[in-house]
């Protein structure tokens, strides 16, 4: 699975993207976030910061109960501030 990070989520994790193999029990975004948080303090601080992280699956906004598979492109980022 391809993971992309932007803005301060990227800064905290220390990566802009990575490719991971999902453990079998991870089938939703919510489970993905829990699993990522367990991978280290950098992930935990990026993901749990005030619950403000936004998620896109294959370049569309997605809710936390959305199912995911290994072929998806998942992005984690803060609320947007363009314009």
């Amino acid at each position: 699975m391809k993971l992309l990070y932007f803005a301060w989520v990227k800064d905290r994790i220390g990566l802009s993207e990575e490719t991971v193999s999902l453990p079998e029990q991870v089938t939703t975004i919510s489970e993905l976030l829990d699993w990522l948080s367990s991978r280290g303090e950098n992930y935990a601080s990026a993901i749990n910061e005030g619950k403000t992280v936004r998620i896109a699956v294959n370049q569309n906004y997605a809710p936390e109960d959305r199912s995911i598979t290994d072929g998806d492109e998942i992005a984690l980022f803060p609320p947007v501030t363009g314009g």
């Binding site: 803005a7 301060w8 403000t52 569309n60 906004y61 803060p78 609320p79 501030t81 363009g82 314009g83």
Partner: protein
């Protein structure tokens, strides 16, 4: 039409091209967002816009499509820049053209409000070498919600 680019754009030329040869257009509304000088005492300040290539274009196209569904538009244009910008630089251009002025005003306003909360851009403010990510504003969420009622 949507464009995501690091280069600057020529506002006048873009608007002229948008309405050229379409004599059904009675009103053309446009908005330009500019980088403000928010730290007048700083020696150096800049704004760097990060974005999510691919998703940005997809979202802008969806937003433009939504405006065309809601209002009878003759033409529309969104240009959003990314990269490093300085005070006075243009960030974004939104323009809509319609037969009547109300549709032009409303759809242009709608596009800006939606873009603000849906297009994946993030602003990094740099002041004298120190960078800070701009926080999202509640007022932007509210501005988007008013179009959902």
């Amino acid at each position: 039409m949507i464009r995501v680019q690091s280069e600057d754009f020529d506002f006048g030329a873009e608007i002229k091209a948008l309405s050229r040869d379409n004599h059904q257009i009675g009103g053309l509304c446009s908005f330009v967002g500019l980088v403000r000088d928010i730290h007048p005492d700083a020696e150096n300040q800049a704004m760097t816009l990060e974005h999510y290539p691919g998703m940005t274009e997809k979202m802008l196209e969806e937003i433009e499509q939504e405006a065309q569904t809601r209002w009878p538009l003759e033409a529309s244009l969104i240009i959003h820049r990314f990269g490093r910008l300085e005070p006075g630089d243009q960030i974004v251009l939104v323009a809509t053209a319609s037969r009547h002025r109300e549709a032009a005003f409303e759809s242009c306003h709608f596009l800006m409000d939606w873009l603000k909360t849906k297009a994946p851009f993030w602003k990094l403010e740099e002041v004298d070498g120190k960078g800070e990510w701009v926080e999202a504003r509640d007022s932007d969420d509210k501005a988007t919600r008013k179009w959902q009622q």
